[in-house]
Each structure stands twice: as structure tokens, then as C-alpha cells.
Amino acid sequence: MATVKTLVLRTAGSNCDGETVHAFEAVGSKVDLLHINRVVEGQAHLEEYQILAIPGGFTYGDDIAAGKIFANELKYKLTDQLQAFFDAGKLIIGICNGFQVMVKAGLLPAVTLQNAEQQVTLTNNDSGKFEDRWVHVKPVSKKCVFTQGIEQPIYVPVAHAEGKFIPRNDDVLNELKANDQIVFQYVTESGEPADYPGNPNGSVENIAGICDPTGRMFGLMPHPERHFHPTHHPQWTRLGLKEEGDGVIVFRNAVEYFR
């Protein structure tokens, strides 16, 4: 089987890097965990990898807007490498803070690294506070590489203060729908659109994750890497241990895509 290489890219304040590395390794990828400075300096190159993962965390403390400084580093220092990575048909996933980074860097909802206007954002939760809770998300998009084969809602945790998805305007939202770019929506256990706390942040149209028009760039607020091991499920002591966590398929799909 072909070796699939994943780069988990971290910087000051990345903090879900360990479990993201573990998730990709567990589904058979070779994984490097690198500080962005190594790529900027040229000690490592994106072209050596098929998958780029931007893990969760509070990069630079989210002191300005969540993910903004890391997004600028990508946008201004790795513009060409990212464009080439995308053009080569490779995959990028951004989880939580990584999703925030992707929308601010111009990697979502479409790859527009050159000075394009930001189209969507993730802003303060309606509740006004950081919340860690489990949510059901329903798969919508048929084109997202990472969610192929997910038919039913999956159960995953969110843990963020700035996760409310807002498009710049209705045109942007309509385009996301028209292009089948809405990957996950917050729903109730039975699959109906959820209100708070099922929609934990007040996201427009309950959007929890989107992809680009190719389905290869994917960002989401929930943490699939935190529902990986069967004992992650908050009710495993009630329901028994599953074969694997609901989030595993997201990582496996990415690796399988290159096989």
C-alpha cells in the first residue's frame, strides 16, 4: 500500500496536535508534527505531504480574532506552497481553531489566498462563553472527501468560544448550498435541526463544517479526533463500547483517498 504522509502543522498555542497526530497514525498515515517556522524556513516542504491538518487550539491565544495570526502566517508566508498543494489535488483539514484559521487564511469556502475578501467567519458563541459539549452533526455534502460513507448523524464534542458560523451575506450562503459545500449541520439526536444547546453556538443554518467546491478542503468546529477511541463517547458506560469512535472515518477517508 502506498505511504500516505500527513503534516500536522502547529504554532504557538496549537494544542490538539497530539490527538490529531494519533488519529492519522491510527488509520495508517505516516505523520510529521512540525512548527510552521520549519516550513517557512524551508527545512520542510508541504509538497512532501498529501494531507495537511491544522489542529485545534488557541493559536496566539486567540488574542485578536480566533486563528487570525496563524491564518496570516499561512496566507502571507506560505502562499505559493499552499496554492501548489491545492493544485496538486491534495487534502487540507482544519479542526476547531484550524477551521477558524482556514476561513481567515482564504482556504475556505474556496481557495483564494490572494487578497480576496473573507467570505465566512466563526464568531462568538451566542451563549457568550466557551463551552465543551457533545453534539450530533448530520452529514450533508456528498462531495466532501472526508465524510464519504457517513450516512447517519455522528456524535462528536465541540469545545470553543468562537464557533458561530456566519456567511458574509446571503449570496455566500446560497452558493455554499448550491455547490454542496455544507458538510455538517448541528441536529438533534433524531436528526432534526437543533436549537441551543444542540446547536452550541447559534451557527447560521446550523452549519458545523464546510468544504470547498472540490470537497478537498474541509473545516469543522467539532472534534472528530476526540471521538476516536471507544471510551471517548460520554455514554460508553451506558451504551457499551463501539468498535470505533464516530470520528475515525473522517481520518480514514482522507488516507484512503490516496490509496
Binding site: A12, C16, E19, A26, G57, I64, A65, N124, F130, T231
Partner: protein, 952 residues
Amino acid sequence: MITKIEIGVKPGLPQSQSATVKKHIYDLGIKSIKAIDHFKVFYFDGELSHDDIRRICESLLIEPITEHYTIDAPLKDEDESIWNVEIAYNSGVMDPVVASTMKGIHDLGFSGEIHVKTAQKYHITGALSTDDKKLIVDKVLMNGLIQHAIQPDEKIFADPTPYQYKRVEVDLLDANDDQLMEISRTGQLFLNVDEMKTIQAYFKKLGRKPTDIELETLAQTWSEHCSHKTFRGRINFNGEIIDNLLKTTVMRVTRELDKPWCISVFKDNAGVITFDDEHDVCFKVETHNHPSALEPYGGANTGIGGVIRDPLGTGLGAKPIVNTDVFCFGRPDFPRAELPPGTLHPRRVFIGVHAGVRDYGNRMGIPTVNGAIFFDDRYVGNPLVFCGNVGLLPKGMTEKKVKKGDKVVVVGGRTGRDGIHGATFSSGELTSESETVSSGAVQIGDPITEKKMTDVILQARDRGLYTAITDCGAGGLSSAIGEICESTGAIVDLEKVPLKYKGLSYTEIWISEAQERMVLIVPPENEQTVIDLFTSENVEATVVAEVSDTKRLQLRYHGDSVADIDMEFLHNGVPQLIRDAIWTPPALQESSFPEPTDLTSDLKQILSSLNVCSKEWVIRQYDHEVQGGSVLKPLVGIENDGPGDAAVVRPVLGSNKAIIISNGINPKYGYIDTYHMAASAIDEAIRQVIAVGGTLDKVALLDNFCWGNTDKPDRLGTLVRASQACYDIAKVYETPFISGKDSLNNEFQVNGESVAIPPTLLISAMAIMDDASKAISMDVKQSGNSIYIVGDTKNEMGGSHYFDIHNYTSNRVPQVDAPNAKKWMQTLSKATSDGLVASCHDCSEGGLSVAVAEMAFAGGKGISLELQSVPNSEKLNRNDQLLFSESNSRFIVEVAPVNVTKFETLMQDIPCACIGKVRADDKFEVIGLNGKKIIHASIAELKEAWQAPLRW
């Protein structure tokens, strides 16, 4: 040129910050606010054009979809009807946003000298008096210790006063006792007269006056905070001489038990035990009480930041993997009119402390998995903030090595004038003047600096680049370098320490407790590699000293000697304290009252009491799952909102081996007898370990004593009692203490009278669980299952919640029958590991009734109980005693029908009986001894009673 940027949320979008402020003002009792607008303000000073500023705003500072901005103009019209107030940090206070902003600006390609300052601006509309405005500013918008309201003529970028070096000597060689104490007091040294005389004698022998920095170093090293003089002193306890309370109680039990899995105890920054073949785990809990009393957010923030550096500074550096936090506050609805002068309202303390812990832990990416909050009005003037951290350390990395010629490298944040006198300040009592006198002790943390420092330290560790590491905590570099080079000596060049701003004296550099710094001992051949490695991730690393072999601490400032003292005198010269301690048994009135016929409302009232009710509002705001090891979360059950017992975490992904973290604390019992309070706290922490499926085989304990002023014999007497219980109970359970901490002098002056906090002992437990998939949660699982109680219920109503809600008193405090309890716990562990237990809950505050009710509503199923068969050796004949007694060492266990026979056979020799069944409906019913229904409610009612009080 100074440019001012205002950033606000675009019209029509929710303003969460404004809504929060509005709510807090309303809570103050000011109800005339019509509207609040909040703006983020940035000031820039530097060579930047208007276009540059615009680019910085649009590419960095604003969120283009939700925010808009103006340059050098108000974002929103201002007129007379609007009260316009702008809050900024005082100069010298850490503002983490500034560092991130500078990084972002440099990334945009700007270089040259640019200064940034931030502020928060509010437009407030509504009829407000001058007093209202003052109240709003002081109580909601800022803390005067670290912030101020910007004045119209204020210079935003004040030039720091440059420092003029002058070596300062203190003339104490001929001072008499009074003069010595005057020197101690004015210098904020907090040294007593014996200690001052010892110092005087030492310098007389040297034939010279001490310098200011030498006195500061001694004061800090000899502070109660750093040297634990009380615990290590001699105590005359009711006529019995105790030489070193610590060594004769908590340390003694560890020595006598001599467990092979205890790797490093009581000597490093955290206690270390074996985890698996490749790793050890270490655990430390500390307090940050006085700073949190003055500035709750910053105090708690730096409390958790500080304790994270303990495992990081243990051995060669452990990876921080778990946080745990326990708080003691006054009631959040404490009457404002009764607030002692100089104190913050408990609600503000609560919200601030919680936010401080949340923001630091979440940003560091360390899950906060466990905690507790205890409310009692005796903490109003002196809240307690316990912060704990667990670290994971590769095997064989517990020993540090320091040798002559090694370089002493400071890594992480820069040194500023923050936290001066923290160690000595925390060793004294709080007064209403503490705010002004000790404001330097208050700091704000910068978690991202700590996070990036941690990331690199772990890489440097794994590459073997340094041979020792320790944290800069209380006492700063003085404490860190003084301790790590204790057996060798060191020569320090103070001017080499990187500073946040100019103007620090050599003494300030040395004793600053600026956060987010660690000290490494690096062999000279690795010096450049270490510096390069840290630099490669934008972390500063600087050689500030060299290890010597003189066994002297030698400090220089630009080559001039400013201190030269023997390590031996510094570390062992403090005269042993001799103190009297007395203890008199409690003599509370035994309340006598008829038994109520219906106890439903009593149960609801207890469920609604602050110390029992749901803490979901607090817990949800902590990331309790980051790092991916969560097995049992703090909230469990069918709706993920029931009160879990201990936390279970798998620190090594890919392995099923886990750690269990729990805590025990109950100061109510200490009002009666601190011996039984301590015994109960140990029992509670261990019970939680057993309840989630752990065993007694590998349980390590930590002690954290927070007491009043132990110079007073009655306070010291209760400390002795508690310590004695620690020995007695841990000895029987075979659960060694591996580390601990004490915080004494937790008293507050009110009208000239000193009020002590209740004696408070937090016991934290860490246990090893071989197979996480055998963990048990507390929520009931299946209707038709049987409910058992394990353990003996006694008439031990003293300090119980039932007595509390009725204001009854009793001396019958819950005791621990450790030899028997050990057998019960071991048997229950066997049942759990055999898979016979469907759910299990520790029976603690509120007794049997609360434990069973919690299991029912967490599992979403009703329960029927009959009290007739509850095992009780005292043959109790009252339902309220059976339901609400808080006897220790008891568990409620749910067993499926298929396992009943096996379970009963296993438990046949210990007190254990079936007392009820899980129902198919939502009813909670208790049949009393007389066969009559004494409690009947729906689980929804009970859950609502439990959830309502702190649903903020």
C-alpha cells in the same frame, strides 16, 4: 505619532461583551442602564502611515464580517447622554494581547520600533449618579490594582523611569530587636525577630552589612511559603513535643509504607509514581489564595499557570496532561452591606477565579477534568484557590544533575516588575490595606508564552540537552537558582536577565515573580543548541549564570558583587520555630427535634444547597477533553449532566491504561474536629477512586493545608489534629502521600479583629487503572436492576447538610473506621473488576438520599428505596438519620439481575444490602422504617432542584 483605533461589532450583530457587562451591572443593583456599547481600542506609537494603520486593521485586527473600525475618531457618535469610559492596564502589567499584536504586525512585514497598548472602551446610556459610575468602574469594568480609567490628558505611552545603579546596604549590625523588626516590616520581609537576629549574627560574623538583595533572598527563602517553617518546627501540643510535624505525619506514612511504585516523593516540584513500563506520572496541587483575593482573574490565572510549571519542573520535565481545580468562596449572594472593607464580593471572586482558571487551562490545552467548589461565608475575606496539575514523564527522567561550569539558562517570558514580594506576601495576613501595599504581588498570566515554552522544553528534554530544570515560582529567580544550585553554588549576572521594560533594580530582577519562566541547567557544550532550539519556536532563552563549586550564592550586577552568601546558611540557617498548640474537644449542643413525617422537601433543599448543587455552569466552560484521553468525564449520564465521581483519563493514546483523579474536602467537619475532617477528606478522595472502578493498590495522595495564623495555639492545635489523621488513615489504607503544600496565615482583618478561614484540607488522589474500559459511571443504567448500599450507616449527623439546612448542631462528626472500610473497598473493587457493577456512586455530602437521587436523575430513571434493610451497626430507628447521615466509606451500587447472586456472595462478609430497585418510570420513592412513604418526587423535580441554584 500615536494613533488610536476603535473596533466594534457591526450594527445588528449580537454584542456578547456588552451583554455580559450589562448583566454584571444589573447584579450590582443598578437597574437604570439602557444600553452599552463595547469597543476594543488599540493605540499605536511608531512610524506608521495612515495606510499602514489601515492595512494593520484590515489584515490583522478586525474580523471583517462582524467588526468595523475607525482610526483616530470615535466609532460611534458621542454626546452628553453617553457616559464614555475607557479602561487600560496600568503600566508594567502584563497585557498578552500586546505580544500577539506585535507578532502579527511583524508578520505583515513591518519592522522598526512600534509600541502597542490596548484598552476597552464602553459607551453607557442610562441615568447614573456619580456614585453609580464609580461603583460600575470599580466593581465591574476594572480592578484598580491592575487597571485604570484613562484620563483625557493621560500620556498613553509613558517612558519608564530609568534605573540608576546604586548598591544598597542595610545597616542592621547594631540594631536592637525593635529596630530589626522595623527593618523587617518596612522591607516587607515578613521575618520574625529570631530570624532577624540570626541574620544579624551571620553578617556580624562576616564583618559586613548585608545588601538589600541579600535580605530579600533570605526573607524569600525563609518565608513560610517556601520553607514551611510551621510544619518543620517544634510544636508543644497539649504538653507533647512534636519535632517536625511534616516528618512525623504525612512524610512518615510514606516512608513506612515504602511502596516500590513511589519514585520521587517530597523532594521535587511534584511527587512522582510509576505509570507503565515507559512512563511515570507526577502530581502537584498548590494554592494561590491571596493574589486571588485581590485580583481574582489574575490570581487564579497565575495560580494555574504556576502549578503547571511544577510538573514541568519535575525531574527533567513532565508533560502537563491534566488540571484539577478546587475553590472555596463565600456565598455568591452574600449581602453587599456586610462585606468587610477591602474585600471583593464573593460572586465577583467566583466569576473572576473561574474565568482565570478557564482561560489559562483552555489555552494551554490541558483538560480540567475534576474539581469542587465549597461555599462558606468564612471565606469572604480570604477565598481559597487550589490548582493542580498532573504530568507525564518518560521513565528514568526523575533525577537532576548540576555540576560546576554548567550554564544557568532562563527560558520563556521576560522579567518585569510583576509579582514582587509574592512569596513573603502570601505568608502574611491580608488586611484591608493589602490592596495597596501588596499590589505588586498581583499579576496577569500569559498562557501562550507558557505553552510555547512547554513545547520546546519537552523537545529539549527528549534530546537530552539539559541536565536539570526547575520553575520560577514564588521567589522568582532567587528561589529557582538558589534551590537548583543549592549543593554547588552559582555566580549570577543579573544584568543578563531579559527585561520587559527598563528601570528594574538588580533586586527587582532577582525577586520578580514574573510568570512563564523556567530555569535550565545546560552543559556548556549544549549552550548554543539550546538557545537555537528555543529561538526556532520564538521562545527566548538566555544564559544568566554559571554553576560554581563554592557552595555560595554570588550575585553580580555589571560585574559588581551585590550578594555573596553561603548556600548552607540560606537553606538551613532559618531558626526552628517553637510553638504552642492546644486542642480542646468540641462541645457543640446536641440538637434534639422530632422526626418529620415527610422528608421530600428536606431532600430537595439539600440538593439545592450550594455545596451539593450542579456545577455544570462552571464545568462546561473548561475544556475537559483536550489531549484526547478522556474516559470518564466530569458530567456523566443519559443527558451528560450528572455529577461524576472521579475523572478517568488515558494519558498515553493507544493504551488502555489510565489514571484516576479525585479529591476530598469538607471543612464543615472541621468545625467539630479537624482530625475527622482530615480522615473524611482522605476517605472521600479514595471512595471516588473506588467508585469509578479503581483499587486501593496504587493510590497516591497529596495534602494541601490551608489554615489560619498558626502562631495562635488554637489554630495550630487543629493543624496537628488534621496531620495526625493523615498519618493514621493513610497508613491503614496504604495510600502514601507523595507531595503537598501548606498555606498558613489565611486570615483577614475586620475592624481590627483577625478572622481565620475554617481549617481546610484538600486531599487529592491519583490512582492507576490498568484497563480504562472497566471504568464505572454513577448514573443508573437499567430499570429492574437492584440498588445496594455498601458500608455502615451511623448516627453521624454533625456537620451534615441535613443539620445545616435546619441549623442543628451535633458533635457526632463522621469518623473513618479504616481497617473495616479497607476490606469493604477491596471487596467492592473485586466486584467491579468482575463486571458485576452497573453503576456506583460515592455516598458523601447529603448522605444516602442525595447519592441515590443523583444516580436516578443522572440515569433518567426512577428508584424505589426501602430503608428497613440499610445496614447500620447502631440499630438506628430514625429515617432522617438513615437518609441523611454522612457516614464515611459508603457506596451505592447498581447490580443487574443476572449478577445479583454473584454480587451478594462476594459481599456476604461485609455490610451490604439491597435497598431498592431501579424503576421503569420517573418516580423517586423512599419507604421508611415504619413502612410509610417518606419521600416521593419525580426525578425531574429533584434534578431541577439540583440544577437551578447555579444555572447562571
